[in-house]
Subunit: 440 residues, 2 copies
């Protein structure tokens, strides 16, 4: 790989790449460009670096200009989009223009595409689709496992290259993983430095409380950058190792994660895309527990999350959506007097719901949720966001109250997440700590 | 407004703009750039046009280069990001470099910011935050209703301008609507042409069946471009009027929507962000109906969607999540013999679930859903994706089977959406047509 720009000395060894995403849909704002972020993270993880991004419309000359400028600047370009069969798919033509190459129909690709059409649509390939298998002279074809438009690789004698990937995210991701990444890794210098990150997922603790545990306003851990990413599922902690050799990056990330886990303790439930429901279901399975839910304000969301886990049926029996108070009484056995004295959103009712659904369904664990999701229904004593969750394991009940921020959807989501967290804690035999207001 | 490029004659009158989004987060792929799509759609709707987009990192010289090139090309630039208080927020410095202006502390902005800190954090403003209120000589300040970093507008004697907006989407959107759009509308020629679109939402009909109704492979309607956007909620139909005077765009979109509605009929349930659950709940409210749900494969998702509608409590009573067969028997009164002979995923069981939950909850309408969400559990007779939905209105039952494509989540989502569609149809007194396989 030609070093693209000696002035970037501090990052010598890294593979600098420009990214050009093509499509009128992008410029008109009909499509949010998720390809760019995926490509950037993936490349950064192996020592590549997107140094510049551009989006251009379906205009042959404009695409060619953008590619030409990027080749002159950086010498390494990835494009996405504009490889399909229609007249406005112009990336291959534009890049061929830049390299001064002509396009020719690739017979092997055509045969594949014809077979594909016969198989999938039981219809001969319309001649208009031939565009898809036109290949610039000297280009290499990058196979597409998930779609019909092949990718292309063009390189000039000076080693400057353009990799053309499809715009459909699934096709782009497949081609990147299957073909382009292995090819680029061969071009990375042994001294290549990577940007890698790990993300820990926490639940049941606020960003400010996390910051207190990590040292006020801590923005680094073990010398690596730390980002707080709050959302309805909890606060994710992302630690990033910047431009290090791969082994050193991994070692330092490992040390940072260890430190974070030690300081944050049981609020951490996993890494990256970990799903609290899957963890809770798996924990129950190991213990041989069955689960039943009684939901008021969440209206089925806890059940939905538990049953979203493939194979949940050996753990999750079902439950009752007790949105109306009459259902709490008739289907869960909540005493009307309790609803009268304590109100539907109360510790006593949450406990009665949990106990009721456990008994009705014959489950090991009953979970009751009752709260005020808003926008209406709040009072000074019980503002919008007030939620009681009770978890009854074989008659041992743990109940807690929280006041969640956000809109109706977010409050419901946080309530279901909190219930899953309590279930996970029950499986682990841990009582949650504050900031939960626990009154058991 | 200076016409930016006479060669763009066919679009004369439109306001061509380049967009530069700033931030290492964007180049590293930690952030998906949603600002670009929002800006593009919003501008297109008033006669602006993003002709080119770029993303650059937090590097003063690189930002300045990108802005300089865009100013030379198009003369009109919007940036997002890089206006915050930290040392890597460099947009204002870079743009000042391009215009050859110096930065000076704005005393009024500083006083505002100090008051804000005192109010929000009960803490004096750290001097490091002064960066946020440095303003390039000759720049106009664009107020930020949602955050502390003001936006900036810089213009040279030739009328070339840069508008600097914050990167936080909520702040950017607020500033765009409050300040920048009114300012740009003043610059639009009276002949400005807009790109506007309307989106119709359909449910219960496949993309291919829609295309048949609209004329095979129809990609236009009333001369406007038509896009099919299939998803788990159904197929959206987006019709786009390209570069027309605003009144003509709206009139032609109106005609196209009328034609689409006439041809697609009751599969259309709304426009833009219409929510089928909200429609179904509102329909039931008008009829004075109450609703109870009995969910197997969806595990609470239908209840969740119905109760996501604010104020659903006068319609939705609740229901039973009958994931295990034992719960179908004990809580819904499904006969064990039925489960034995017909299997849990069958018309008879769906009907029994609907009738059972209606009776138990004392509702006008009972809805039963039973199916195979996968990935396991499919058979040749009942493949993964097979779902029975039964809607029982006062003892009148309509049941139908579908085989949904997609993964576990998508199958469940489509099943809940189909149940909502049947509820909406019941409210309207319409029986759905094929492609539903109806056996009632």
């Amino acid at each position: 790989m030609t070093a693209p720009d000696a002035s970037r000395a501090p990052d010598a060894g890294a593979l600098d790449v420009e990214l050009i995403t093509v499509g009128d849909e992008l410029l008109l704002g009909f499509t949010v460009d998720t390809n760019a972020a995926h490509l950037a993270r993936t490349l950064a993880g192996v020592g590549g670096r997107i140094v510049r991004r551009a989006s251009v419309g379906d205009d042959r000359a404009v695409i060619a200009d953008a590619v030409r400028e990027a080749l002159q600047r950086t010498g390494a370009v990835i494009t996405t989009g504009g490889l399909g069969p229609t007249a406005d798919d112009l990336t291959r033509d534009a890049v061929a223009d830049v390299f001064g190459r002509t396009l020719a129909l690739d017979a092997a690709l055509l045969a594949d595409l014809e077979a594909r059409w016969q198989r999938r649509f039981n219809h001969p390939l319309p001649p208009s689709n031939h565009r898809q298998v036109m290949v610039p002279e000297g280009a290499e074809v990058l196979p597409n496992r998930h779609g019909s438009a092949p990718g292309l690789w063009l390189e000039d004698p000076q080693g400057r290259w353009v990799a053309m990937l499809p715009g459909v995210p699934r096709e782009m991701r497949g081609m990147l993983a299957d073909t382009l990444l292995p090819r680029l890794q061969g071009r990375l210098a042994a001294t290549a430095r990577v940007v890698r990150s790990r993300t820990l997922r926490t639940v049941g603790i606020a960003e400010s409380a996390l910051a207190d545990r990590l040292g006020a306003q801590a923005r680094t851990v073990e010398g690596l950058a730390l980002a707080y990413l709050p959302g309805a599922e909890g606060v994710d902690l992302r630690v990033t190792a910047p431009l290090l050799p791969p082994d050193e990056a991994d070692a330092r990330l490992g040390a940072a994660v260890e430190t974070l886990c030690a300081r944050v303790g049981p609020y951490v439930y996993g890494e990256e895309d970990a799903d609290l429901a899957a963890l809770a279901v798996q924990g129950c399975r190991v213990r041989g527990w069955t689960v039943a839910v009684a939901e008021s304000c969440t209206g089925g969301m806890l059940g939905m999350r538990l049953t979203a886990v493939p194979g949940a049926s050996d753990v999750v029996l079902g439950g009752v959506i007790a949105y109306a108070n009459a259902i709490k009484v008739s289907e869960l056995g909540v005493a009307p007097a309790l609803l009268e004295t304590d109100g539907a959103v109360s510790e006593a009712v949450a406990r009665a719901m949990a106990a009721g659904v456990r008994a009705r369904c014959g489950a090991t664990v009953g979970i009751g949720i009752t709260g005020i999701a808003g926008p209406g229904g709040g009072t000074p004593d019980k503002p919008v966001g007030t939620v009681w969750v009770a978890v009854d394991v074989d008659g041992q009940v743990h109940a807690a109250r929280a006041v969640f921020p956000g809109d109706r959807h977010e409050i419901r989501y946080r309530a279901a997440q909190a219930a899953l967290d309590r279930l996970r804690r029950a499986v682990d035999g841990q009582a949650p700590e504050p900031p939960w207001v626990t009154r058991s």
